[in-house]
């Protein structure tokens, strides 16, 4: 083997490995690439973008004031006699039982729904991540006290899990009185155990991994290991869960509003309230129920599609 032959070969090898772009691709970037190629993620993203756009800017462009009982004023709507006119050129989704424009109410309601979903999920995420993070760190640190703290926190979580979620929400709502923030807190609390358990399990798994042992053997302090290695690597499943929780939060918030535990100002449009209002008129104007129901389903579907696609994209098993 000549020197030139060897050099040529090594050059070639280096060239082969060096084919990709100059910078490294981090896991998040890699996951985002995979996400972009997944049709489910695209559909989910399109639905959600539309939903968020409508929720944010829609209310400025609604054709009618959503609380205005225009249909009754003009004598077109007589819900007592079962007269609720349907879609028309002026009122695209028709009137509701109080003569209000359903189209305008749907659009303004989107903002409420988004607000409740996001805030409730954030509450659940914050409280759950705090409990789960402390429990996970305590379990990871080990020792008598670590195990005791972990045990105590997990029993609290077990108790929360033991209550049916709707019952838990109803009791919280009953305790705090019906209001929009009650709905947010109630829905948020329901998702606390999920986030707490997920983060804890994920942290414990990471704490037992070889790279944490490697960091320990480098002499890195435990708190720093927890912050720089364990937590960032435990977040992926939590983020996926948060996206999926948004879907259930919207449905649960609608359910609470439907039960009358939401905003006491029932004139304020909200998809769950609209669904509840539509109930007595199912026989006359089923569309009144169908519009909010379909909107809830599609939005929830959007979050679920995106969440599932993210789960797939972040799955370490699919990594090359």
């Amino acid at each position: 083997m000549t020197m030139t032959g060897k050099k040529e070969r090594l050059d070639r090898l280096a060239e082969m490995v060096n084919r990709d772009d100059e910078r490294g691709v981090s896991l998040w970037q890699e996951a985002f690439r995979r996400l972009r190629r997944n049709p489910a993620a695209i559909i989910g993203a399109v639905i959600l973008t539309a939903f968020v756009l409508v929720a944010l800017v829609g209310p400025f462009f609604v054709p009618y004031e959503p609380k205005d009982t225009i249909g009754i004023r003009e004598g077109l709507v007589k819900s007592g006699q079962g007269i609720i006119p349907g879609a028309s050129a002026e009122h695209w989704f028709g009137y509701d039982h109080q003569g209000r424009d359903v189209f305008s109410r749907m659009i303004v309601g989107a903002r409420q729904t988004l607000l409740v979903g996001v805030v409730a999920t954030l509450i659940g995420l914050a409280v759950g991540a705090l409990i789960g993070g402390v429990a996970g760190a305590a379990a990871g640190l080990g020792g008598r006290w670590g195990r005791a703290v972990d045990n105590a926190l997990m029993r609290v979580i077990d108790m929360m899990l033991a209550l049916p979620s709707l019952l838990l929400a109803v009791s919280i709502a009953a305790l705090l009185g019906a209001s929009l923030s009650t709905v947010m807190i109630a829905v948020g609390m329901v998702s606390v155990p999920v986030f707490a358990r997920l983060l804890r399990v994920s942290m414990i798994a990471q704490a037992n991994s070889d790279y944490v042992l490697a960091a320990t053997s480098l002499g890195v302090r435990k708190p720093k290991i927890a912050l720089t290695h364990i937590v960032p690597n435990s977040l992926a499943p939590v983020i996926v869960q948060a996206t999926l929780t948004l879907a259930t939060a919207i449905i649960e918030a609608a359910a609470l509003s439907f039960l009358g535990l939401g905003n006491p100002d029932t004139a304020q449009p909200e998809w769950g309230v609209m669904l509840a209002d539509a109930q007595p008129y199912l026989g006359i104007r089923p569309a009144l129920a169908i519009f909010p129901a379909v909107a809830i389903i599609i939005t929830a579907l959007g979050f679920t599609l995106l969440g599932e696609a993210m789960r797939e994209a972040l799955d370490p098993k699919l990594r090359k």
Binding site: D210, L218, V220, K320
Partner: protein, 371 residues
């Protein structure tokens, strides 16, 4: 050999893991004696190879030596410093001098750190290199040493092949300028053609940096190739320790012999000639090890006296240390392996010229049950 030449001395090291049961309250119902009284000395600049099958406690021993798993008892003396009683802050500072290389290069690298950040972590921890440029220079040197290109710095572990990842792991260890490196199965997760690259790299680094190694592996061939001294572990204890070549030419402990005879060699002539010592049964549970000699339940040379009730200690026989009551008499051929349960079998049935094997087969029985 004076004491100055010994970098690491392990004295009667024990690691017992409690077995816990119970829903609300932990109750200890027993102990897994992963490491149960090991003594060994690693001379400076040499390689000590530790072999044994899964569950023998070799990995636990390596971690306990580095104080990554707290030992239950015994002492680890590293360069005249007793590690087991060292306060945490001093132990952390000490870690710069003793590093570890892991089996699985993927799981031992944080997937969210790029190579630069992986290699910087240790430097920052020990305050080596004042600023980023200085650190970069140190890291660059480490990359050169392990044969990785500079552009690797901005890449993430998942973008490398297995062999390259292991080089990153080695760079992480050598960048701190350690004296001792504990390598736990450094090549077993790698492809055959890559193993040699890493083995050669470890050899080169030892020569250029004067490193001392403790290499833990199940592959006897790898261990023999890179070790000066080899220790054989069985159920938490050393059963034999000898210079690498001597262990191969004159294995004294029955377990070493069985292990040696079981390793396949890529040479048909050797394979056809070999006398395979087949051990009966499986490894007993380390939670409930056999009394007396731990190997007596599977030993082809087990004797009716002493083996079952007296635990043999390591004793010096002609340059080796062996824990067997009957080592001399087995070596001289005075004692023959028992035929019952285990025995030596000529391994040629699969050869090109098949010979009848001496094993009674039960095909006939299976046939009659057919009818």
């Amino acid at each position: 050999m004076t004491d100055n030449d010994i970098l690491v001395e392990v004295r009667d090291l024990k690691v017992h893991f409690p077995i816990k049961r119970g829903v609300l309250f932990d109750r200890t119902i027993g102990h897994v004696k992963a490491v149960d009284g090991v003594d060994l000395r690693i001379p400076r600049g040499q390689t000590y190879g530790l072999v044994g099958e899964s569950g023998c406690g070799k990995s636990t021993l390596g971690r306990a030596l580095l104080q990554l798993t707290p030992p239950t008892g015994g002492e680890v003396v590293f360069d005249d410093v007793e590690l087991t009683t060292l306060p945490p802050a001093r132990l952390r500072a000490m870690r710069r001098r003793m590093q570890m290389i892991f089996q699985d290069p993927m799981s031992s690298l944080d997937p969210r750190q790029n190579v630069e950040s992986i290699l910087t972590e240790g430097l920052q921890t020990h305050g080596i290199g004042g600023n980023r440029d200085e650190r970069r220079a140190i890291i660059g040197e480490a990359l050169d040493k392990v044969g990785l290109p500079r552009w690797a710095l901005s890449r993430y572990p998942h973008e490398f092949s297995g062999g390259q990842r292991q080089r990153i792991g080695i760079a992480r260890a050598v960048v701190l300028g350690p004296e001792l490196i504990v390598a736990d199965e450094p090549v077993s997760a790698l492809d055959v053609s890559i193993q040699a690259q890493v083995v050669n790299l470890l050899d080169e680094l030892q020569e250029s940096l004067g490193l001392t190694y403790l290499v833990i592996a199940h592959d006897l061939a790898v261990v023999r190739h890179i070790s000066d001294i080899v220790g054989v572990m069985y159920l938490g204890a050393l059963v034999e320790e000898a210079p690498s070549d001597r262990l191969y030419t004159e294995p004294l402990h029955p377990y070493t012999r069985a292990l040696m005879s079981a390793v396949p060699v890529p040479d048909p002539d050797v394979e056809d000639r070999r006398e395979r010592i087949l051990l009966a049964g499986d490894l007993p549970s380390p939670a409930n090890p056999p009394a007396g000699c731990r190997f007596h339940t599977r030993c082809p040379w087990a004797q009716p006296t002493r083996c079952a009730d007296e635990r043999p200690v390591l004793r010096e026989i002609g340059g080796s240390r062996v824990a067997c009551h009957w080592a001399e008499r087995i070596a001289s051929g005075e004692l023959r392996p028992n035929q019952e349960g285990a025995g030596a079998i000529r391994g040629s049935a699969g050869g090109e010229a098949p010979e009848p094997v001496s094993i009674p087969t039960s095909t006939a029985k299976a046939d009659s049950a057919d009818g």
